[in-house]
Symmetry: C3
Subunit: 136 residues, 3 copies
């Protein structure tokens, strides 16, 4: 019994030390913020190759994930999105925003997943799945 | 003893799974951010009916909670504040801001509570009361 | 055994209640955000004298930590930085930003520490060291 207990204690302690860092990037502002965030995420992946990143978008934050979206330099975002998705980054788009802005789901990048509410997803990832928060 | 121990372990594990999600919305920018946040909070409550939301404001973030405040469409915020308070949302205003900007407490919406420091409250809710963070 | 177990349980419970609040202030915008953040941090320290604050900067967020930096009122930031460092605040600067913007390390305030990646540091402090998050 004592041994089981100590094993569990050690397991609990090492969970914090060894656990993968999981980060939600919260994007709600628009194209300039998205362009910055893509640079941030690339740096983040280079600095911590085991990090799990989920990008949750709502409001104008979804714009870079719509077909034909271009960054402030006039280049399409599709290449960045494909590259980051290939490195394990997930993208989520708020369905409330699609409805309010009357944007068809067909216009959302195939790499992105549609969730009922962007803000509820940002909170859920932190409260239920151990994610930490970055507002780029 | 073993049974008590297992019961406690199960209780600890289920705390995370079943606990209410608690979210602090951090507002420090001004009227446009407040108008966006109100829409976000309404969507959040619709998506997760058990969520607990506390809005902590300081600096220009307090403006929408002052008497006569109007949103960018020229409508008073008082209706939104009353509606959200009725759905369990709490509003907190930084007393440092009131002092620095020489705003009388009489001008603060009756639904809002005055706290000594907005930033200390945002940190305390996360560190001591299990809240997660959203910057709208 | 039972006594050890209860002692550990009480210790675990009181850790949350008594632990020092640790806060990462995330700065990525530039001089106006830095000026606001300095006021916020001063208020925070006055409201909670035991709080531990680490300021992590990247992108334009590093500007106030470079030699000769002045706030929007034309006063040098060096006095604020020295004062806050004297009160225990730590400042960290993103090395990716220094490289990308071709800023020499010699220009960084001596109170600041250079870290490989600002965003990875913001995430690490939250995930591994129990910090909570504020975006000023």
């Amino acid at each position: 019994m004592k041994r089981i207990f100590l094993t569990l204690l050690i397991a609990a302690a090492s969970t914090v030390a060894w656990a993968q860092v999981k980060v939600v990037y919260h994007l709600s502002e628009g194209i300039p913020q998205a362009a910055r965030a893509i640079g941030n995420i690339r740096n983040h992946l280079n600095a911590d190759q085991s990090v799990k990143i989920v990008v949750v978008t709502h409001g104008p934050g979804i714009d870079f994930l719509l077909d034909g979206a271009k960054n402030p330099k006039g280049q399409p975002f599709s290449g960045d999105i494909g590259e980051l998705a290939g490195r394990g980054v997930e993208f989520r788009v708020c369905n409330n925003t699609l409805i309010t802005r009357e944007v068809s789901k067909d216009r959302v990048a195939m790499e992105a997943q549609i969730v009922p509410s962007g803000v509820a997803e940002v909170a859920r990832l932190q409260a239920k799945e151990g994610f930490v928060y970055i507002h780029p």
